[in-house]
């Protein structure tokens, strides 16, 4: 029997047995970003379970379910700051969680630097667009809009 083989740390150099500097995971220029992103995936995941399950339950499972959803349904929910905040939190957490997840997937499969770079540019642009649009929609929503001079009244609107 020969001596037990020496098992080196993954990605260590064969010369020194130390992890090559480019593979060190802490103290690099990027600091703790990757660890914080990893932690964020887990924390946001737990909160998203509550937010998304509540969203699906209230919108699809109670009362008439999907048949009840129309403009007035949305107006009714967003008349309440509770649901505005709920939807806002869900929008931001789901988008940041999903974006970071897709960023990981791009890093895994796109091997060429330029491809990886451009895929992430597209990803971040889409994320910024959707998050900003969604946030504006929640806060500028008008339950009784006047469009081209036509007043869209419903029974919950104040008399003109």
């Amino acid at each position: 029997m020969s001596a037990a083989p020496e098992i080196r740390a993954p990605r260590s150099t064969s010369q020194t047995g130390r992890v090559a500097p480019q593979y060190l995971r802490s103290g690099g220029a990027r600091g703790q970003f990757e660890m914080l992103a990893w932690l964020f995936m887990r924390l946001s995941g737990i909160v998203l379970v509550v937010l998304i399950f509540g969203h699906l339950f209230v919108n699809l499972l109670v009362g008439e379910g999907i048949h009840a959803i129309d403009f007035g349904f949305v107006a009714g929910k967003w008349a309440d700051p509770f649901w505005q905040f709920w939807d806002l939190a869900m929008l931001w957490l789901a988008m940041l969680h999903g974006t970071n997840g897709v960023r990981t997937i791009i890093n895994d499969y796109a091997e060429r630097d330029s491809v990886r770079f451009w895929l992430k540019v597209v990803l971040y642009a889409a994320t910024a667009l959707i998050v900003i649009l969604g946030t504006l929609v929640i806060f500028t929503f008008d339950p009784c809009p006047v469009i081209d001079g036509v007043r869209h009244v419903a029974d919950y609107c104040p008399a003109p």
């Binding site: 737990i46 499972l61 008439e64 379910g65 949305v74 959707i130 929609v137 809009p145």
Partner: protein, 126 residues
């Protein structure tokens, strides 16, 4: 000393397939979310525009799509909680396979409940 990694890192079995499922469902949900924020944004265009696009979600084919999407969300959610347990619970890695079976059982129960209720509402005569 081989210069290239020999074989593959993919190990198969519960660990790998749950990861594949988590990845695929994550991407599917992400793309749906982009579309879903856009369709909801039509409430800022006009009540008619919103009602029209939501009408599309009410046809029977879409009802099947929604049911599939919720199947994906439920798997991603329960398996995500499993990943968190594997990472933070000290016996998590030891029981990761049993945890996956628990995920699948809970998923089946939750999905069956959702599908029965949603499909009977969406497809049921009205």
């Amino acid at each position: 000393m081989p210069t290239k990694p020999a074989g593959t890192l993919y190990r198969g079995r519960e660990g790998m397939w749950s990861w594949v499922g988590h990845r695929v469902t994550g991407v599917v949900i992400f793309f749906f979310l982009l579309v879903h924020v856009l369709d909801t944004s039509l409430v800022r265009v006009s009540p008619e525009a919103y009602t029209a696009v939501i009408g599309a979600y009410k046809n029977p084919l879409m009802a099947l799509g929604e049911t599939g999407l919720v199947a994906a969300i439920l798997f991603h959610a329960f398996n995500g909680l499993r990943v968190i347990l594997v990472d933070f619970w000290k016996s998590g890695p030891k029981y990761q396979r049993q945890l996956l079976w628990a995920v699948l059982v809970i998923w089946l129960v939750a999905f069956a409940g959702f599908a029965i209720r949603h499909l009977s509402l969406a497809l049921g005569g009205h």
